[in-house]
Amino acid sequence: MNDHNYVPSSKLGKWFNDRLPLLSLSAHLSEYPTPKNLNYWWTFGGILTFCLLGQIITGIVLAMHYVAQADLAFESVEHIMRDVNYGWLIRYFHANGSSMFFLAVYIHIFRSLYYGSYKSPREVIWIIGMIIYFLMMMTAFMGYVLPWGQMSFWAATVITNLFSAVPFMGESITNWLWGGFGVDSPTLTRFYALHYLFPFLILGLVILHIWALHIPGNNNPVGIDVKKPSKDTVPFHPYIVIKDLFALLVFLILFAFFVFYAPNLLGHADNYIEANPLVTPNHIVPEWYLLPFYAILRSIPDKLLGVVAMFASIFVLVILPWLDTSKIRSALFRPLYRQFYWILVLDALILGYMGALPPEGIYLLIARVATAYYFIHFLVILPVLGFKEKTIPLPLSISEPVLNESSDVVKNNKMSTE
C-alpha cells in the first residue's frame, strides 16, 4: 500500500485504528492516486466487482429455494420462476448476470491486452486475473448444469467426458467426477456445492487482484509510469468513483434490457426441456462465452490433444507477460502490434462463431485456421514483434504533450527496443 500515514481524528478511531487499521485502509482506498488519463475501458474493473457481488447476492437467494436433486431440480427452478416473490427477477438477473459478467471480463482482458497492462511490474495482477477467469468459467459451467434441463445435462456429459481422454486413469477420473457411472444426481449435488463455493474463492482472489494493483498503481492509456503524482494523478474518490458509477449505470441499461426484455435470448430453448439421459439434443452447445474454447477443443481431431489445446489456450495467456518481449506497454505506440491486436480480436470472434456451428466442412477448416492463428499470435508473433517493431516515441509524462525526438525518454525508449 502507499506510505502515507493516516491518523484518525477521533480518540476512539485512533484506538481502533491502532489495533486494526481499517480506517487507514479506507483512507488509502479513497486517496489512492489514479492516473487522470484513464479512459472508459478502465471502468470495467468496477463493473466486474458489481457483477460478482450481484451474482453472489442473487445466488444466495436462489439457493434458498433451489433443490439440488435430479428429480426435483428442474421443477424447483420453475417454482422460483412462478411462486417465489420476484423469483423470476432474481433468476433472470442471475442467468443473464453471468453473460454480462463475461461480457465485462472479456472487455477487461482485451483492454489489458491493448494497453499492455500485464507487463512488468503488473504480472502478478495479470496472473491472479487469469486464475479468476478460469474459476469464472468453471463456476459458470457448473451453474449452467443446475437447472437440469437438456443442455445442462448434456453439457455436463460432454465436459466431464473430456477427462476420459486422460491416459490410463481416464475412466476412473470421470467416475470419480460423476460420483457414479454417468451424470446423475450425485453429479448435480457436487456441482451445486462447488458452484456455491467458487464465487467466494473468486471474491478472495479479487481482493488479492486489487491489492496487487495498489502496489504499482494503475496502468494507463499511454502506458508510461506516473512521473509526478501531483500532476499526473487524481484521488480515486471522488473522481474515479463517479466515473465508474456513470459507466456502471450505462452498463446496467444493457443489463436491464436483457433481464426484462430478452431474458432467454442468450440461453438455449432446449434447457427448458427437463434433462433426459435417453434423448440427445441435435446440437450440444455451451453458453456463448465458452464457445471460442469449444471451437478449439473440436478443431483438434484427437480427443486428448483437443483437451490439451483447450487448456493450453488459457495457459498461453497466463505466461503472456513473458511471451510479449516489447518494453512498450500501450498499443498506441506500437503500430504493428495494434494491427495484430485487432486480428486477434477478430480471430477470437471467429472462434466463438465456429463454436456455435457444427464442426464439419468449411466450418471445421475455419476453426482450425483460427485455432492455429490464436497460438501463433501468442507464441510466435508477440515474442518476435518485441524485437522487430519500430515503436512511436512515448510522451514524457502523462500530463505533458508528446515531445520532440531529442528528449531523453525517447532515447532510452529507442535503446530498449533496438
Binding site: 471522488p238 458509477l245 444493457l254 442468450l266 430453448a269 470472434l349 500530463s399
Partner: protein, 261 residues
Amino acid sequence: MKFFFKTIFILFILFTFNNQKTEAEENNKELLKVDWSFKGIFGKFDRTSLQRGYQVYTEVCASCHSMKLLSYRNLAEKGGPEFSEEQAKAIASNFELTDGPNSDGEMFTRAAKLSDKFVEPYQNIEEAKASNGGSYPPDMSVLVKARSGGANYIYSVLLGYDDPPSDVTIDDGVYYNTYMVGNKIMMPKPLSEGSVEYTDGTEATEEQMAKDVVTFLAWAAEPHLEARHKIGFKAIIYLIILSILAYFSMKRLWSRVEPEV
C-alpha cells in the same frame, strides 16, 4: 466515449445475430409470424384470448398434454386469464384427483381445489406413451420457451398440417407437418374449424383457436411477463435518468482537473 458505446453495441448485435442464426437453422421453413400482443416493451396478454385459449387447451389439448407446473389458482391471478375466483374454483371442481391417505389409511378421490396443480391426463409417462402409439405428448407448461421460435413455432406447427409431398412416405400414425422439425409428427391434426364452441361467441376458426391457445401457452410459460415488462420499463427509465445525473456530476467534478495529454 463514442467508441465505447459503439463497441458495446456491436458486441450486442453480434450475440443477437449469433443466436438467431442457430434458431433459423433448426427450422427448415420460415415460420408463420403473428403480431402477438405480448411482444414488445409494453406487451400484455389479451385477457379474452387467454380465456379462450384455456378453453381450447382444456377441451382439445388436455386429453393428452399435461401442464403439471400450473395450479388452478393461477387462472385467477393477475397478469393471467384473470378468471374470477369463483370461476377458477368452478373450473377446478370439474377435475377429480386422488388424495390421501385419510385417517383410515385409505386413498380417496375428491374434486380439485384452487391450490391443486392441473390434473394430469395420465398416471405416468408409460401410460401416456402406451396411449399415444409409443410417443410421449410433452408437458406444455413451458413449451413455448422450450422450442426455438417460441410462440410462432407452436402456432406454425398447429396450422402446418398438410398432405405429404409425393416423394415423402409417411407411416401409419405419423402425420406430415410443414413446420415440425423433420416434418414428421405423431400428433394427429388437433384443431379443425369448430373444434370448440367459444362461450364469448368468437368464431372458432383454425387460426383463431391456434392464436388463442398459443397465447395461453405463452402465458403459462411466462406467467409474470406483464409484471416483468412493467418493472423493466420503470427500471430502464430510472437508470437513464440516473446515468444523466451521474454524467453531469462527473463533468462538474472533472472540470477541476487539468486536461490530460
